[in-house]
Symmetry: C2
Subunit: 201 residues, 2 copies
Amino acid sequence: MQELKERIRREGQILSETVLKVDSFLNHQVDTELALRIGREFGQRFGGRGVTKVLTVEASGIQFAMAAGIALRVPFVYAKKKKAITQGEAVYAAPVYSFTRREAYQISIAEKYLGPSDRVLIVDDFLATGAALVGLADIVERSGAVLVGVGCVIEKSFQEGRFLLEERGIEVCSLARIVSMKPGEVQFAGEECNQKERITC
Amino acid sequence: MQELKERIRREGQILSETVLKVDSFLNHQVDTELALRIGREFGQRFGGRGVTKVLTVEASGIQFAMAAGIALRVPFVYAKKKKAITQGEAVYAAPVYSFTRREAYQISIAEKYLGPSDRVLIVDDFLATGAALVGLADIVERSGAVLVGVGCVIEKSFQEGRFLLEERGIEVCSLARIVSMKPGEVQFAGEECNQKERITC
C-alpha cells in the first residue's frame, strides 16, 4: 500500500533496528481516513471469502479491525488482555509475551463470540514476533472457526512472525513489509525488484 | 438514541444494580454498523463546532472515537493506560481509579498530539463514576486545548460522573441515560415524562 509506505517514511520514527514508532498516524493519534483506507485494502484482499467476523487484540488493533469490519460489513471482536470482573463467562485464553512491553500477559475471548460457524479474519497493527497473532490463531482453531487469513498493517519481515504463521498454513497479508530499517532509513520488500504491491501479501 | 436503548434492553446483561454488560455489541464483540451510527449521532450533536480532534482512552473507547472521527472527519487520539517503551517522550498524565477492574492506573497522551490549537471532543463507551473522563478533561485543560464536550454511549445517571463533569462546566451528551437498573429491567431517563431523546444530552 503505497500511501502507507510513504507515511511510514515521512512520519515513522525508527528508534533502533527493531523499534518503529508510528504513533502520529496509526496507534496513538490515528488518521481516521487512512485507517478507513487500510480497512478497504483488507476488504479487497479478503473480500468474497465469506468472512463473518474480524478478530483483533486490544488496544492498537481495534481501529484496523473496525475499518476492516466496515469494509467487509461484519462485526469485529477484540481479545481482552485482562479479565475484567464483568467478563465472568467461559473464555478461550492464550498466553502472549510482549517484547515491546517486556511482559507476559493473557489474551481472552468469550467463547460465545467465536464458533464453528465463523470464518475469521485476524487483523493487527504490527506483525513482528507474531506472539499475539499466534495466540489469536490458536484461539480461532480451538473455537472450531475457519481462519481465512491474517491481515497486518506493518510487518517487520526480519522478525519471525510471518514464518510462525505460515508454518501453520495461515495466509498472511501485510500492507507494508519492512525488510530492514535503521534511523533515517527504511527498506520495504519488493522495492529492489520493482515488484511493488504484489509481493506484500 | 432509540436503537441503542432497544439493543441494551434486548442484549444487555444486568449483573447487579451497577454492572451492565454490553459486550455482545459494544465493547468486546462490536456491531460495526451500530458503532458507525453512534459516531454519526455524536457528529450531529457536536458538528459545526470546529472539533479538530476526538479523544478517548484505550481500549473500549477506541471504536466510538473512530466512529466519531469518521463522522466529524478528524483524527482521534487514544490515551494509553501504560507507558510502552516506544512512548519515550513528554506526556500529559493523569491518575485514574477503575471501579470495574478495582485498580488504579495512569492514562497518558504524548504532549505533541494535543495543544492550544485543538478543539477536542472526548468520547467513551461508559459514563459512570467519571474517573477516566475527568482524567481526560484534566489533560485537555493542561494542554491548552478547548474542550468542546464529552460524548458517552451509555450513562449510568445514578452514579456521579455527569455531576463531576458538569460542575467543571463541561457539556455532556449521552446517547442512552440509565436512571436505574436491576436484573431484567432497565429504566432510561426521559421515559416517564415522554421527553424521549431531548433529555439525553
